[in-house]
């Protein structure tokens, strides 16, 4: 068998092995690439950064573990920024598992805060019911948004811990979506960012930004910039956002706290390997075609 025939009929296990190595090696050796924030990422960062302290921000966790590698770095970065800026955070989930993603993010933030308090000796305000509240998951997708548009308590008589909403201090002046300053939806599909734009942010007249997977991002471009103030699409933008966070708040610049930047190395190498496969595949295709014509 000639070299060409070997390449043309390559065993797919070899392809699997190469892509496995392309993903594993950069993660094991923490291969990093310099990040240059794209204009939309910078725009989103500035928008959040310029909100006044005490602003009310709703963060909706509309994804599950399958999209965690892409979306969790965005969620963590936004939540960290909200704490640094002293915002009040309202957590929701339109996906059943989103509630667990939110819980993991809050656990991460608690570890961040403990570390910061240890280093600075200063208390960071992050009290449940005062600085953040977890409303939890409700089924109904856009139906849930439709109701909270005018009344949170109607859809959520209690929060995720079964505490009456009326007894939670930070809900006293927040009756509906219209009382918020910003909505952030981190979503991997439906229901998600699109539903938040159509049924929540737009009718309420509240600004919305969001994070979505690279596959989903193109579907949301029609809403930008009038109805959607910006979106982070895929891991690359998450890594860029982490870079901006690290530059602005140095306590988050350590690479081990920047999962997006670590994973981006693997994605970059994997993309190159896939492109090489496409090039080689096309070369064999054209050789085949030429041979076919001659034959």
């Amino acid at each position: 068998m000639s070299f060409y025939e070997k390449v043309a009929n390559i065993d797919r296990r070899v392809i699997f092995l190469l892509i496995g190595l392309a993903v594993a090696i950069p993660i094991i050796f923490t291969v990093r690439f310099p990040g240059f924030p794209t204009p939309m990422v910078q725009e989103i960062f500035d928008l959040v950064e310029n909100l006044p302290a005490g602003s009310k921000v709703l963060v909706s966790f509309d994804y599950d573990p399958a999209s965690e590698p892409e979306l969790q770095p965005m969620a963590t970065a936004w939540m960290r920024q909200c704490i640094e800026r002293g915002f009040r955070i309202y957590i929701m989930a339109l996906w059943p598992i989103g509630q667990d993603m939110a819980r993991l993010t809050v656990d991460q933030l608690k570890r961040d805060i403990a570390e910061k308090e240890r280093l600075t000796g200063k208390k960071v305000p992050f009290e449940y019911g005062v600085n953040y509240v977890d409303l939890g998951y409700k089924s109904g997708a856009q139906g849930v948004i439709n109701v909270v548009l005018t009344d949170f308590e109607k859809m959520y008589p209690t929060d995720s811990t079964n505490q009456a909403l009326s007894s939670i201090p930070m809900m006293s002046d927040t009756k509906s979506l219209k009382d918020l300053d910003l909505i952030i939806s981190i979503s991997a599909g439906t229901p998600g960012l699109k539903e938040w734009i159509q049924f929540g942010a737009d009718p309420a007249g509240v600004k919305i930004i969001g994070g979505s997977t690279a596959v989903q991002a193109p579907l949301l471009y029609p809403y930008y910039p009038k109805q959607l103030s910006g979106q982070l699409g895929g891991l690359k933008t998450a890594a860029e956002y982490e870079k901006l966070m690290g530059d602005r708040y140095p306590q988050y610049s350590d690479i081990k706290d920047n999962k997006g930047r670590i994973r981006m190395g693997a994605q970059a190498i994997a993309h190159i390997v896939i492109m090489l496969f496409i090039v080689v595949g096309n070369i064999t295709f054209f050789i085949d075609r030429r041979r076919g014509k001659r034959g």
Binding site: R12, I19, G143, V147, A270
Partner: protein, 230 residues
């Protein structure tokens, strides 16, 4: 006839009409909200029906020993184990009324452990397998067979490169502010050709939804009732 056809048609008509009117007339908007809450209540029954259906289908497979019945057994064991751990809140240390009132995700419970150490890695693994199949498919199927395929291939190349830092590196000759780097080109593809296509698709889908919804509300399309014979 009345129970099987007329009443479901009437419910569909009233709910559909009210939800449309709630968007047009503020007076009816509260009715729209009430109906959205009804959905939440109906969903509870759907979850019970879904669970019952799962047990019925997989129970049958196990009973009849059809090929692959072992997978059904694993599915049912997983279902009942998660259900009982979530219902009884094992590992939370709670007792009595407190235990029943607490959410399944109560801190320290085994339910959280199932999510963290079983569900999360399994879901991530399943999704990660896509990378291998995409790589294999890109080698075997992504060919410049004709003009359309070539355009798609070139666009895919620009997007793939533009979505990594390598795209910035290899377009250093253009200068980061020139607007002609690969990430800029990728952004242009997303902002213009992609946007135009997406808008056209969205408008088409919206018109399709309007037409289908009207047919269902007016009782012309009765497929959702299981038969359209009458």
């Amino acid at each position: 006839m009345l129970v099987r056809r007329t009443i479901p048609l009437l419910i569909t008509f009233v709910v559909g009409a009210v939800l449309i009117l709630s968007k047009l007339f503020p007076v009816t908007s509260s009715l729209g909200e009430e109906f959205s809450i009804f959905f939440d209540i109906i969903a509870v029954f759907a979850f019970i029906l879904g669970g019952g259906n799962l047990v019925k289908i997989h129970g049958n497979k196990i009973y009849r020993r059809v090929p692959g019945w072992g997978y059904s057994l694993v599915c049912l064991i997983g279902f009942f184990a998660t259900l009982s751990i979530g219902m009884f809140k094992t590992g939370t240390g709670l007792a009595g009324v407190e235990r029943w009132a607490a959410p399944p995700t109560y801190s320290g419970g085994h339910f959280n452990g199932i999510y963290e150490y079983i569900f999360k890695p399994l879901a991530a693994t399943m999704f990660a397998l896509l990378a291998f199949y995409v790589a294999s498919a890109s080698y075997r199927a992504f060919r410049a067979k004709n003009l359309e395929a070539t355009v798609l291939l070139v666009a895919a190349f620009i997007i793939l490169l533009g979505r990594t830092f390598i795209g910035t590196w290899i377009s250093f000759w253009a200068g980061p502010e020139s607007g002609y780097t690969l990430p800029d080109l990728a952004e242009w593809i997303m902002n213009y050709p992609n946007l135009a296509g997406q808008r056209a698709i969205m408008i088409g889908i919206a018109l399709g939804i309007v037409s289908t919804s009207l047919k269902i509300i007016l009782g012309i399309d009765r497929g959702y009732m299981g038969t359209d014979a009458e």
